[in-house]
Structure formats: C-alpha cells, structure tokens
C-alpha cells in the first residue's frame, strides 16, 4: 500500500471558552490516499470545516490542535512553525472555500491574485507566472482568459468566480486540495459543472481531494471514500458505495435514509433521526450518538466506541465490536436494517 497523502491520527481540536474547554474534534483519524477523493459529511457543527482548517493550519484562535498528529506525505505538519506551515499552504495543500463571492479580494485583478500566489511559491519570473496564470484560467474554463486576467472579481458570475478560486487553489499543483462546501453557495445549475471541473483538474494532477459537504448527492457522484462525522467524532468511514448503500453506523444509516432518492418511490416517507446533535459542551457520556440511537444499549452509555471494521467500512459503533454483549433484540433490529453486527447471537436467528 502506498503511503497516504494525508494521515490524520487521533486529532483533537479544542476551543478554550469561558465555560471551559470545548472539544470540537475528538480523536479523529483517517487517511487520504494519493489521487483519492475523500468526502467528509456530517451535520452543521459536526466538525467538518474545522477538520479542514486544522489540517491546513488555519484554525481561528482561540481554537487549537490539542492532540494527535497530522502527516502530509509522511511528514508531520501539525507542529510546524507558522512560517514553515505557510510554505506548505497553497504549495502542497490547496483550499477552496464555500463562497466564491467573498473568497476573492474585490480590489485586486484576477491575474494579480493568481500571479501573486504563483510567485509566492515558485521562483519564476513575473512573465512566466503570468503565462502560467493564463494557462490556469484556460484550464478551469474561463472564456477569453487573456482579457479576463485584468478583470476584477465582481465582473464574474458566481460559477466563474468559483472556477477562478479553483485555479487559485491549484495554482502551484498541491498534493491535496481541501474543498469546503465548494458548491453550496452556487446555483444548482452550475454545481455539477464545478464539481466535475474540480474532479477533473485534480485527477489531471493526481491531487487528492478532501471534499467537505453535506450534499450526499455530490459525495455519491464524486468521492471514492466517505467519512461521516458526528459531534466532532468519526462515525463511519468507508468506500462511498458501501457507506451510501449499506451504512454500518446507526447515525450514517439515519443520515442516508434522510436523503430523498430521485429514482425512488415519491410516496416513500423520509426517515428522520429523532432529536438533534448535542452542543459541544453537552456531549453525553459514552457514544455521542447514544441518546438518539435506536440500538443503544448499556455499553453505549458508559464507554466510547473505537472504530471497528464493519464490512468494507469502519464504524465507531459497539454493534461492530465482537466484545459487546449485544441484547438480542437490538442485534435483530440492526440486522434487519442491514447493519452487519459483529456476532449475531444464535437465539436471534430467524
């Protein structure tokens, strides 16, 4: 197995507040392989964007990485000096933000923003940087790129601006691109184009992508693997097909059931998970999901689950731990729901 481009191990992100220290991300681990597109999904506040920010080293104070490791191609980057980290940003990790309308400095020409980025990281002449900027614009599909170089951001439409943003993020060929909700702010009609563009351009460069979104449709279309976050913790991670079709974590399962399928029965009722995600200060003991989980049993309320293999995926749920003393009734219902419980007690078999 090749070395992962990004390897996050036991990441902890904390916010000291006046009510005590809040753990926004708690013991999160995942890898991204070269050329892979990892989708990161979860509700608002689950810690998706923070994970991205933590990786690129742009956590807003007072937020801080309080534990764990982040490795980029094997090199540890979570403890680098700000100056070293800066050379990695843009150069080795690119990032795309949610709102293309506000991501570009309105007072600078597109061309200048591009060349500035290129010149920051590459020791080439201004002329060469400009040529490269032009090629980039062409690559992301900006028509009349030559003249558009000297245009200001407000002269572009939203979709065009996001193309510029992609060009900027990929200007110096980073190994990893973190795309934080890149299409949320766009018209539905251009969303697909932008996602396709992102995917193509990353694939061309062999760059890995960490795609943060709450849009499962986009994930299903784009990602190779999916990582489901809940209350700052990993719920499930696995190949996109498995997670979408056969979610192994009760939360993931609830999440998938809540997605309307276009092909499905229009009269089908969408499932809903009762309750809501806990606030960071009020995460329950044991499994963070246990008060909302239909399968929760004693152990879920006292102990925090690790990630256990569950089919092709891994799920942080005791249903998948062979050591769990599963109440048969729970195991039965779980199995009915398609969850591959670790060991089905004999008496529950049909």
């Amino acid at each position: 197995m090749t070395e992962p481009v990004l390897s996050v191990r036991n990441l902890i992100v904390e916010f000291p507040t006046r009510r005590g220290v809040l753990r926004a991300i708690d013991d999160l681990s995942f890898d991204i392989a070269p050329g892979e597109v990892l989708g990161v999904v979860g509700e608002s506040g689950a810690g998706k964007s923070l994970t991205g920010a933590a990786i690129i080293g742009l956590l807003e104070p007072p937020g801080r990485v309080a534990g764990g490791e982040i490795r980029l191609a094997g090199e540890r980057i979570d403890n680098l000096s700000p100056e070293r980290m800066r050379t990695i940003r843009g150069k080795r990790i690119g990032m795309i933000f949610q709102d293309p309308l506000t991501s570009l400095n309105p007072l600078y020409r597109i061309g200048d923003q591009l060349t500035e980025t290129i010149l920051t990281h590459e020791p080439i002449s201004a002329r060469a940087a400009r040529d490269k900027a032009l090629r980039l614009l062409e690559e992301v599909g900006i028509p009349a790129a030559e003249t558009r170089l000297s245009a200001y951001p407000h002269q572009f439409s939203g979709g065009m601006r996001q193309r510029v943003v992609i060009a900027l993020a990929l200007a110096v060929d980073p190994q990893l691109v973190i795309a934080d909700e890149p299409t949320t702010a766009l018209d539905v009609s251009v969303q697909a184009q932008i996602i396709a563009l992102l995917k193509r351009i990353c694939a061309d460069r062999g760059a890995s992508v960490m795609l943060i979104t709450h849009d499962m449709g986009v994930i299903a279309e784009t990602a190779d693997r999916v990582c489901v976050l809940y209350a700052g913790r990993l719920a499930e991670i696995g190949p996109v097909r498995d997670v979408v079709k056969r979610p192994q974590h009760p939360y993931a399962s609830g999440l998938m059931a809540a997605i309307p399928s276009l092909a499905g029965d229009p009269d089908e009722k969408l499932a809903q998970i009762p309750g809501s995600m806990p606030r960071l200060g009020a995460i329950p003991r044991g499994c963070a999901f246990n008060p909302r989980c239909g399968y929760a049993f004693d152990r879920c309320r006292t102990e925090r689950p690790d990630a256990y293999p569950a089919g092709a995926s891994q799920a942080a749920c005791f249903l998948h731990d062979a050591a769990s003393a599963l109440p048969p009734e729970v195991a039965g219902r779980a199995a009915e729901a398609g969850i591959q419980v670790a060991r089905v007690p004999a008496e529950a078999r049909p």
Partner: protein, 327 residues
C-alpha cells in the same frame, strides 16, 4: 460620468445656497456691527444712518439677495472691520489655514493609520492597549486646553517651540508659505499636533476596526490558505481593503480639520481664516462671516466631490456599477 459630476455640481450649488441663506438669517442674532464700527461718541442718528447705508435694516432675504447679486459678480464686499476687500482678506489667510490643515491632516493620517494597523495586527499586546488608551486622552480633553497646555510646556517651560504665529513666511506669488523657513516649520508643530490629535485618534480607531473586519473576511482566509506571506496579506490585501472606507472618511475629516482650525488658530494666534472668522463674529463683520461660511461650504462640497471620485478610483466595484448604470 459627466452627468454624475454635473448632478453633483448642481447639488453643491444648492448646498451652498442653503448655507448662505441659513447664515444670513443668523447674522442678525450675532449682534449689531454698527455697535463696533462706530466710536462711543456716535449719535443715535449717526448709527441709524450707517445701519441704513449698510442695508442692515432690510429683511434678511433682501440682504441675502443683494449679497448673492454682488457675489455673482465677484464682489464679496468690504470687511466692516478691516476695511479691506473680503476676498483678498480670505485669500491672504487661506494659505496659513490650508498649510496647517494639510500638516495636521498628514500627521493624523500617517500616525493614525500606522497606529491603527499596529493595534489591529497586535490586538492583545501591551503596547496596543497603551496606544488605544492613550489615544483616548487626546479626545477626552477639549482642544483649546490641549493647545494651552502644549504652549505652556513647550514654549514657556522648555522654550523649544514658538507659542504663537507662523514664524517667518515666504511669499510665492499669491501664496505665503511657512514651510521654507526654520521658524515657519517650528511654528507649525504645536498647532498641527493640537489640531491633528482628534483626527488622529479617529482615524486610528477607524483603521483598527476596519482592519479587524477585513482580516476576518473570506478573501483574507483564502489568501492565507494560498500561503501568501503575512506581509503580503496584511499590507497588501488587508490594508488596501481597509483603506477604501478610511480614505473616504479621512477625506471628509479634512473638512472638519479646517473647521476645527477655528479653535486652534485662536489659541495659537495662527493667522488663518478660522481666526479671521472668530474675530469677525466678535465684530459682527457680516461680509467676512458670510464669505467664510460660503468658503467652508465650498471646501466641503469640493472635498465631498473629490472623495467620491477618489472612492470611485480606488474601488473597482463602483466603477462598473456607475458605468453599468448608464447602459
């Protein structure tokens, strides 16, 4: 664009007419110029006659109309007090005020922007807090007191700087300048500080607030994510965006500086239009008061226009909207 400027010019004229009308309606409350124009021996009849000759008994809108009529032909009258043509008096005093305002403005702007940027970039530092607090002292005392205290300290006690006046000036055509002589430059220091202190604090706070706002914006985050150096981000991206509203407000403040010069000029016996105005008020020198107020209105109108155009030049978004609106 031309239509825009024409519209602004029209608005400006309206503004000036309103200012003129309001001032004229006020003059009769300031007092009776005849009381100061004639010696105590003048008889009641003499006074009445002079008042008649000056047209002071006319209703104010008649006086205003007469004034406008004369002003339209370039005649702003003769100062009741100094018996010289008002236009000439004001023009001879204007350089002093403009030089003072210019130096104060530059001082306020440069120091204000530097401190503002520093305190925005180092939000929690000791030095930042000190600057923030100390700068407030500058706006917590009335200008006249600051001026007097500066004179007391630097002129009387230390004898470093002159206490009054402009020092030696050099005449360059119509303009007299104090920039070219050592005493002229030394004389500028205390009044410029006195006058600029308030604006400096204002600009500093404005820059800090705007900069903090800008630093939190998405494009700064995106710029950081692209690995741009702090220098490029702070002084390239953030500062430029900060300066758009700051330049506008600082520009408008230049007008305030000229107006506030009244107090500074009085304290430092600075021979500018502000001191001329205050003396005129005390003498009820209506022609000078009217011309001064019109001049201030004109300066404001011009500054407003220039600031608008400047804004237009700095912010590309406006350029497009303006031209777009014309399509």
């Amino acid at each position: 664009m031309i239509a825009y400027i024409l519209r602004r010019l029209f608005q400006s004229i309206v503004v000036m007419l309103v200012v003129g009308l309001v001032s004229f309606s006020l003059f009769r409350y300031v007092g009776d110029p005849v009381a100061t124009m004639m010696g105590q021996e003048a008889s009641v009849a003499d006074r009445a006659e002079l008042r008649e000759r000056l047209g002071l008994d006319d209703p104010f809108f008649v006086q205003f109309a007469n004034y406008l009529g004369r002003a339209a032909s370039g005649n702003f009258g003769i100062s009741y007090r100094l018996q010289q043509p008002v236009m000439e008096l004001i023009l001879s005093r204007l350089p002093a005020t403009l030089e003072l305002a210019f130096v104060s403005g530059i001082l306020a702007f440069v120091v204000g922007v530097s401190f503002g940027v520093y305190t925005a970039l180092n939000r929690s530092g000791m030095l930042s807090s000190s600057i923030m607090t100390l700068s407030l002292i500058g706006v917590s005392l009335p200008t006249f007191l600051i001026g007097i205290l500066l004179i007391w300290l630097f002129a009387v006690e230390l004898r470093w700087l002159p206490s009054f006046g402009r020092g030696e000036t050099v005449r360059l055509g119509y303009w007299t300048t104090g920039f070219l002589t050592p005493s002229g430059r030394a004389s500028l220091i205390l009044p410029a500080i006195t006058l600029g202190l308030y604006q400096m604090t204002l600009i500093m706070r404005l820059v800090r607030a705007e900069m903090l706002e800008v630093l939190r914006s998405d494009y700064i985050k995106f710029a950081r994510a692209r690995g741009l150096s702090n220098r490029a981000i702070h002084f390239g991206h953030a500062l430029k965006n900060t300066m758009v509203p700051v330049v506008t407000i600082a520009g408008l403040q230049l007008g305030s500086i000229i107006a506030f010069a009244i107090i500074t000029e009085t304290v430092f016996q600075w021979p500018g239009v502000g001191a001329l105005f205050i003396n005129s008020v005390q003498f009820v020198d209506i022609p000078v008061m009217a011309a001064y107020l019109m001049l201030i209105a004109l300066i404001f109108v011009v500054i407003n226009l220039v600031v608008d155009l400047l804004y237009y030049a700095i912010d590309p978004r406006l350029r497009i909207e303006q031209s777009g609106a014309r399509h």
